[in-house]
């Protein structure tokens, strides 16, 4: 009978073992939901997921480019969330006609903001670049939200 209990305990252990799942990595989908929540009272418009490998020594940091249309008299919010599973912290840059307009990284202070608001006064296409600080590997989501009409 004692032998039987041991076998049953082993079987239960085996059952538990089969059902064990490895620790879940943070997915892009989860990041979108987290990031949308961080945008506070702004209304979600779009999201972009960016996954980049780390730069080799001496190489420029890899970046991903997207294009988007923004409208005049509108305040937008860019919220950036970097995955905890990767070392890279995402830096956003928004250009209009090759001119840098918006970034969540302030060079003067070295501070990286989790979100940045943009009061748009020119309707047209804008170019969005996302890279990771110091060219590290990273996964991030950028959520574009509508704050208000100006």
């Amino acid at each position: 009978m004692k032998k039987l209990y041991i076998i049953i305990l082993l079987a239960i252990f085996a059952t538990g073992f089969v059902n064990l799942k490895p620790a879940q990595a943070q997915t892009g989908e989860e990041l979108v939901n987290i990031c949308s929540g961080l945008a506070d009272d702004a209304t979600y418009l779009k999201d972009y997921t960016v996954k980049l490998s780390g730069a080799a020594p001496g190489e420029d940091p890899p970046s991903q480019k997207k294009s988007l249309m923004l409208r005049k008299n509108t305040q937008y919010r860019f919220t950036i969330c970097s995955s905890r599973d990767y070392p890279g912290r995402a830096i956003l840059k928004v250009y209009s006609s090759s001119k840098l307009l918006v970034s969540n990284y302030v060079v003067a202070t070295g501070k990286v903001y989790p979100s940045v608001d943009f009061k748009c006064q020119k309707t047209g296409p804008y170019h969005l670049w996302i890279e990771f600080e110091d060219g590290k590997e990273g996964l991030a989501v950028m959520v574009l939200s509508f704050v208000k009409k100006l």
Partner: protein, 302 residues
């Protein structure tokens, strides 16, 4: 049942169930795409360029927000009817009308008209299922939120995100022709809504918003022309060109200025000081509005 049999069950059951779960997932992911909806022929504009252009067509939420911001009362009369959705029998029409309903849903959500929006949610589900993207439309959650008039932020978020996911899925699965149609439908309905509101409330901001559609329509024409080998697309291009032609003498000038930045309540805020200014005559504005009504009603067989 003896002890040995019990042990076999305990050990094998989880293995069997885990295998079953995995095979079910596989069948969900691998649904069939009918040949009739796949892209036809070689595209003149690359998929990457198409994606960039698509991203350049702004959300209909913004049009709805602009209208609401003018303190214009809600009107159900502006919306496309949903009572005869079954008349749209081809994937071409279904995708186009799905875009129209998407814009209407944005307008309804912006005004918190959740009771009316239920009809649109049902019609959107039907059309999305017909073009095989229904799996991205979380109808049950949206219906619950709308019925209970609860958590309107979630309602807005889920509906907008679902439309983005449908669009992304179509583009990633060689069905960007349908994505283009959804965008075209959403765009024409946005212009129609702006025009109808402008007729009743001739606000300068709305006038400018209609005028600046010249930029977006230019991009949309590139997307549509990519499929001109298809007869239905040729017909649609002809309709949209009639609006595009009216925009020829609408001009947009730019006043340059340097951006400024400040931190407000811990958040970085950047003010753009370059401005775009739209120049459009009263007569041209009226013609664009009238033509948008004609084209939109033609699509809806009204």
């Amino acid at each position: 049942m003896n002890v040995k049999q019990l042990l076999y069950i305990l050990i094998l059951a989880p293995l069997i169930f885990s295998c079953k779960s995995s095979s079910e997932k596989g069948s969900d992911d691998a649904f069939q795409v009918p040949d009739s909806v796949a892209n036809q022929g070689v595209l003149e504009v690359s998929e990457q360029a198409m994606e960039n252009i698509t991203e350049n067509i702004s959300s209909h939420i913004e049009t709805a927000a602009l209208i609401k911001n003018l303190n214009v009362p809600f009107s159900k009369d502006y919306l496309a009817p949903t009572d005869d959705v079954d008349q749209f029998s081809t994937n071409f029409d279904q995708a186009l009308v799905l875009g129209i309903y998407g814009a209407d849903l944005g307008y309804l959500n912006m005004y918190n008209k959740t009771t009316v929006s239920l009809d649109y949610l049902r019609s959107i589900r039907k059309l999305a299922n017909n073009i095989k993207v229904g799996q991205f439309f979380d109808f049950n959650t949206l219906q619950r939120l709308a019925k209970n008039n609860e958590n309107l932020d979630s309602l807005m978020y889920i509906s907008q995100r679902n439309f983005n996911q449908m669009d992304q899925y179509l583009r990633e699965n060689n069905r960007s022709n349908l994505s283009t149609l959804m965008i075209a439908g959403g765009w024409i309905e946005g212009l129609y809504l702006s025009g109808q509101v402008f007729r009743n409330e001739p606000d300068p901001e709305l006038r400018e918003a209609i005028g600046e559609q010249k930029i977006i329509l230019g991009d949309l024409m590139i997307l549509l022309k990519n499929y001109r080998n298809n007869r239905d697309f040729r017909r649609l291009i002809k309709e949209f060109r009639s609006i595009h032609d009216l925009y020829k003498d609408v001009t947009i000038t730019i006043e340059q200025g340097e951006p400024t930045q400040e931190v407000v309540d811990g958040r970085l805020v950047i003010q753009q000081n370059t401005k775009s200014i739209v120049n459009i005559s009263d007569e041209r504005l009226k013609q664009i509005i009238d033509e948008s009504v004609r084209v939109r009603n033609e699509i809806l067989n009204e």
